[in-house]
Symmetry: C2
Subunit: 286 residues, 2 copies
């Protein structure tokens, strides 16, 4: 593969940051990789594994070397991280991120970047219910979609380099308005997670059984619990940052649930069968 | 393995009936296996594969040979099937079933069996989102729980033979009151399926996007759609037969959802993090 950046800095070596470091090294997408984070032992571990060349706790120590910076921290602190590192950016540097919510970040950051530096919002739609560097792997982005959310003010060259990075990591890149992105992920990702969390809590909260009813769980419920094991802090931040879109999808879901409850209540077999067939047809269409 | 029945009849060769025929033949749990069903070609296919010895469309043709009858039809027609076959049972025969709802069946059937024949309600908690004979396999019951729901009037010998059959098929057998069973599966299985169906329908019904948003689905939503591909007719019948318990769990879930929505609406990060942690802890405890 062709080298895309001379020196890439990755802020936060969790599942996404760690996987990005691995694929960048494996495919030689940058000459040099620096990692920034609070947990210096984890960073040193990554250096020992040959996944990064340098590791730093403080932006002032090495960030000026980088011509690309990928913020892979929890979404709730991306804005403050970019603000903190901005003064140390070299001219021409492009900053991008991997946060699951884009609208507030793009609006807050893009217009306020130091002259001659650029912010391009990004969201690789990849991940597992496991978080952390220990779960990272170079193939995480393979065959997945990465959404980039440039605005009319975005620098075309900066956008193109970020796009090439994700394509080289194995993803298809889709350009999208940040607000549209946030509405789509509210529907397709944030709502399902909220429903899974709620379902697991509701069932675990049913105390009127002598048995441990979780022992009787078969396929269906186990799939839900897998999703519901996702990182609580990340999901708290997503719910707060994408609040309005999420509330809309929750209302939409609630209305669909009321329809189903009405059909169960009135014993309307035709309606139930129709609802379940719809659902199966949607699955088959994916 | 020791032979448990001389001649076992399986009514309905779908996922469960087909898998039972396979394991019975493979482990020689009966000398002879007869299959009954409407689709005589499918039954003949099973006979050609050596999974059953005889196949019949009509109970009058071969049922009197069987000392055990397992009803593996969709749950909605189990009661009528048992009523239809009862006149042809031989003395001492034990009838059991595999339906996901037990209370109404046990109450309707057990007291009305012909003198000297027995009904023991059963529910092997095993299954995949795939249905049909084509998806059947001998290991389906391995390591799973099979619930039997005897009453005080149940014949101890009949119960013991059915118990041995499921143990020999690889399952752990749990004896339980039919009403308790129905409340547990409402929580742990029927509610999650209703939620998955509803979620998939709600998301598919969000028409205010130019994009086909289903293309952006990552792990979480795909797990839901897998569940939501389950057989619509089976789930219609389950919802109708376990209506009262299901409505209770749906109400319980709705209240939990309202709590979550309140926390999102008011931007209560501490509450959200607490809810998501609870959910993760439940998963870890399973």
């Amino acid at each position: 593969m062709k080298t895309i950046f001379g020196h890439i800095a990755i802020v936060g070596l969790g599942l996404i940051g760690g996987s990005l470091a691995r694929v960048v090294k494996q495919r030689k997408l940058a000459h040099t990789v620096s990692a920034f984070g609070r947990n210096i032992e984890r960073l040193q571990k990554a250096r020992e594994l040959g996944l990064v060349d340098n590791c730093y706790k403080r932006f002032e120590d090495g960030l000026h070397e980088a011509d690309a910076v990928v913020i892979a921290t929890p979404v709730g602190i991306i804005e403050e991280q970019v603000r903190a590192l901005a003064p140390y950016l070299r001219g021409g540097a492009v900053v991008t991120d991997v946060g699951s919510v884009k609208g507030p970040l793009v609006a807050a950051l893009e217009p306020r970047m130091p002259r001659g530096t650029f912010f391009i919002g990004g969201h690789p739609i990849a991940g597992t219910e496991n978080s952390g560097f220990e779960s990272s792997f170079a193939e995480l982005f393979e065959g997945r979609i990465c959404v980039l959310t440039p605005t009319r003010q975005s620098d075309a060259g900066a956008l193109e380099r970020v796009r090439k990075l994700w394509i080289a990591a194995g993803s298809s890149v889709v350009l999208m308005d940040a607000e549209v992105h946030d509405r789509i992920v509210a529907a397709i990702s944030h709502l399902p997670h909220m429903v899974a969390f709620t379902l697991v809590n509701a069932i675990a909260g049913m105390k009127n059984f002598k048995q441990n009813i979780l022992e009787y769980s078969a396929g269906g419920f186990r799939d839900f619990t897998r999703i519901a094991a996702s990182d609580p802090v990340m999901w708290r931040d997503i719910a707060l940052m994408n609040r309005d879109n999420l509330l809309q999808t929750l209302d939409f879901f609630t209305r669909a649930l009321e329809d189903l409850k009405d059909a169960v209540y009135s014993g309307d077999g035709d309606k139930l069968e129709e609802l379940f067939k719809q659902s199966r047809d949607t699955r088959r269409g994916i």
